[in-house]
Symmetry: C2
Subunit: 242 residues, 2 copies
């Protein structure tokens, strides 16, 4: 199955300086590609915590994406952490180094040289005019934190992840969860392959009380689960579907 984990590396998010855009954006992109996101972990710019999160991500999902911690300054430690997670060395990539030398000339310095560092054996996605490389090591893709770069970088590798589509249906009800639970239990028991969620609303803006969602890889199963559930609930309590 096509599953993913997202590791967001960013003190600026944990200290509430900015809200993370990349995690929610990538979650939507992956979903549209048919990839099921299993976890999103936001952690500090600290190598041991990144290595730990990468290990968990790799063991729980097929694909792993990191956001942030790429660049020339002291708080950019993602490359070192990814290398460590794989037991690889960090090496200077000649193609990137050449590009940096052409770009910076006599403004080249130790910090800018770090931009050519990659885990040994990584695949480099690079093209003329690109501002930065996208680094992919086995199933881990390393993307920069600024949303503009994150999105452009993911765009370069997006098609690698396209999978069988995920199907999703929903029904909106005028009945509370306490009255729906037994019908949900029956539907869950009958359709173990369909992921069924129940989401109540309590705010006055809502024009329904509960949204029930049906998700799966097989369209007919998703439709059958929705139909089975609908038949059990009083027709007048069903407001709409989507």
């Amino acid at each position: 199955v096509s599953t993913a984990a997202i590791v967001v590396i960013g003190n600026e998010i944990l200290s509430a300086k900015i809200a993370d855009e990349n995690g929610p954006w990538l979650t939507r992109e992956l979903r549209a590609l048919g990839v099921e996101v299993r976890r999103i972990e936001t952690i500090p710019d600290e190598i041991p915590l990144i290595v730990d999160a990468l290990g968990r991500a790799k063991s729980q999902a097929k694909w792993v994406f990191t956001s942030g911690g790429i660049g020339p300054t002291h708080d950019d430690v993602t490359i070192a952490a990814v290398a460590q997670a794989f037991g690889r060395k960090v090496v200077s990539e000649p193609r990137i180094l050449g590009m940096l030398e052409a770009r910076y000339g006599d403004r080249m310095n130790a910090a800018r040289k770090r931009l050519a560092d990659v885990p040994e054996g990584a695949d480099i996605d690079w093209h003329d005019g690109a501002y930065f490389p996208v680094i992919v090591l086995e199933d881990v893709a390393v993307l920069p934190g600024p949303p503009l770069l994150f999105k452009e970088g993911f765009g370069r590798i997006r098609e690698r992840y396209r999978s069988a589509p995920l199907f999703s249906r929903a029904v909106y009800l005028a009945l509370g969860e306490g009255d729906l639970a037994e019908h949900l239990d029956a539907t869950v028991a009958e359709f173990p392959q369909v992921s069924i969620g129940s989401y109540p609303r309590f705010d006055v803006q809502a024009d329904y009380r509960v949204k029930i969602t049906f998700d799966g890889r097989v369209r007919d199963e998703v439709e059958a689960a929705l139909a089975f559930f609908r038949r059990r609930v009083p027709e007048k309590c069903i407001l709409r579907e989507d």
Copy 2:
């Protein structure tokens, strides 16, 4: 030190049906209270994954907050997971049960009875007119997922977490990270107690190239680190502070 971890339990977030509001909101609230958030983990409604996340959260932070998975339906498994993480039984809380019986009368059923389930020995925050209890077991606070309820529930317990304030300063520069890195390294070496971050912008809307942040518990150290860094950078490249 006052640190926190947030565990967001929600298939609806991982499947991109909604964007999580509670994690970013609670991160801002905790920061304002002087609590440093160390991790935010978004995971599915699955007991083993919740137990695993709670163990990690408890070991890496003083306070733990969960969002979601509370209610009467099959996908509401947070109470069972919290009990399991502490090796406690799930018991029916008589005060909550009494309130539910008064509220629902002859519409009481097995699903609604589940709303009185709590991990044995938990502290219950409850008052007349409250729609739901806030359950706190040792350092773990259990909050419901709908943002309206999440925020109201946190409001009841907020003052328990107030700590010594965190101080934050920032300076905005017209110079790139490659030119700033050596000055950052020097500042980091001189002020090990201050957390220093470097955040470049690449979008045309930005009126600066890099924002450098200084965070710490001691105001004088934060101010001294900022002043030390400023002295090393050409004055004309400093655009503003906040």
